[in-house]
Symmetry: C2
DNA sequence: CGCCCACTTGAGCTCTCTCAACGCCTGTGG
DNA sequence: CCACAGGCGTTGAGAGAGCTCAAGTGGGCG
């Protein structure tokens, strides 16, 4: 972990991890990396200090993973929960042709505990879309956490409802919006979600995804994604460069995409 | 209920309700209408006689609803669970333009208990796509049922996982398949789901949906749905008329759609 | 009998895709 | 230190899937 922060060029994806007052050395315990998860859960159900401390303790399980690392294999039953602390991971499906559909993002603070809670196999793969910080929490430790912290368990359940709603929203997005609208909607959603974990400043956030990733998310070709982004830039709705996204006209963007944040 | 069975022309949607040995008069208690739910749940977790009896008792809450009836309004918190016994209902979203996206079907045996379990408002509308038989089970009665019958509660939880997986599958369907493939995939899924509740015979089942419904499900125009269906007929994969669907070449259809039933 | 709704068919048009090429940046190896 | 390969973003052009508009058919219901 310490080594990660000193990686030659800081991947924008990771920057959220160490945001805020810069820490010379990683300060364990009250580390900001637990922040995303705590902030998110706190939004669903207020946590107390003990809950927060328990979440902070999860840092012990955090480790960096390379881009394209498969975190949970399709059709397997994971014996641990996956928690993303920095970077984006995806839930994706693939066709025989190799074509990929990303059905969800796991952004900092998101997690997957399917295997642990239900020991049901997953119908998709979970994969790091970039260099990430991910905690793999063993089943027993995870169940223990839920058992001791009912507020966390409650918040996680509500988070799961939001995830479900997001899946529906994505389906509606791909099903009834044009390419440009889809992109706008996705960018609005990400602003909202990243905002709740403190990774949006001044309508700006890091968008470390590849245009191909976006394409596989929105059901478009990467070429078309490129043009769609240009259209949004031309209309002065966003500015995007070096994986840094600026929402120039939030209201107009939301109206254009018919984005309603209620589902999150 | 009794009156429904004598409705002038029997809607194909309802036929599954009274399928099997025809009953002169509705026989309460061991009525086949509870069958769909019991069969489905039994597939997720084996039920015993008491569980079955409890499900059969739900018949008291069943009532017919007209097509287009809104069962749960968007943004409302339902104080009852919705259980579909016959016919199809949909979860759908609408755009300002009036365009609709169906994000899920509720077929016989399916239910929605979001409001009851979480009192969270729904991000979509639940609506009868045709004349249906639907039970509205009050919160207390529903919670009581779950409390007294842990096997049912377990089965319902697993059913919810399958629902989630289905949403992902639909997203992948719309995101990376052609119109014809999407339709084929949907028809395969429905064969599977209707099969588990005993509504498929000889590769045939009632498909009481409108082409417009199918269009709004698959993210296509109704005109194109029409042509897609013709293509499937031309290729001798299906035959469809009078809302009765025959899968002529199940294996070929599944291969064409790359359908894997695992997620259900 | 007539209306309404679902299905059908045709034609032109648009959005999006595919193929292809090129520039840029980065990491790698000589 | 430089050459090179690979990945990503960008641009152009032609092709194709799917859309919209429009008209017509047919069946069920008032």
């Amino acid at each position: 972990m310490g080594t990660l922060a000193t990686t030659a060029v800081m991947d924008p994806a990771i920057s959220g991890f160490a945001r805020g007052p810069r820490q010379a050395a990683p300060a364990p315990g009250r580390d900001r990396s637990a922040c995303a998860l705590a902030r998110k859960l706190d939004g669903f159900a207020p946590l107390d200090e003990q809950d927060r401390a328990a979440l902070a303790d999860l840092i012990g399980y955090v480790r960096p993973v390379e881009r394209h690392t498969v975190l949970v294999e399709q059709d397997s039953v994971a014996d641990h929960a996956i928690i993303v602390f920095a970077g984006f991971a995806s839930r994706d499906k693939r066709r025989a042709s190799g074509r990929r559909q990303i059905v969800a993002y796991l952004i900092p603070g998101d997690l997957c505990d399917r295997g642990v809670l239900h020991d049901y196999s997953l119908d998709h793969t979970i994969e790091a879309l970039m260099h990430c910080l991910v905690a793999k929490v063993p089943r027993t430790a995870y169940l223990d956490l839920l058992g001791r912290h009912p507020r966390i368990a409650l918040a996680l359940q509500r988070a799961r409802l939001a995830e479900e709603a997001t899946a529906h929203e994505w389906l509606a997005n791909v099903g009834m919006r044009s390419g440009t609208e889809r992109m706008a909607h996705l960018l609005c959603e990400l602003m909202e979600r990243l905002g709740t974990v403190g990774q949006v400043t001044d309508g700006q956030y890091d968008l470390p995804l590849t245009q191909t990733d976006l394409a596989d998310t929105l059901g478009l070709s990467s070429v078309h994604v490129n043009r769609v982004l240009q259209a949004l830039r031309r209309d002065k709705l966003i500015s995007l460069g070096g994986h840094r996204l600026r929402i120039l006209a939030p209201r107009r963007l939301r109206e254009f995409a018919e984005f309603e944040a209620g589902y999150l």
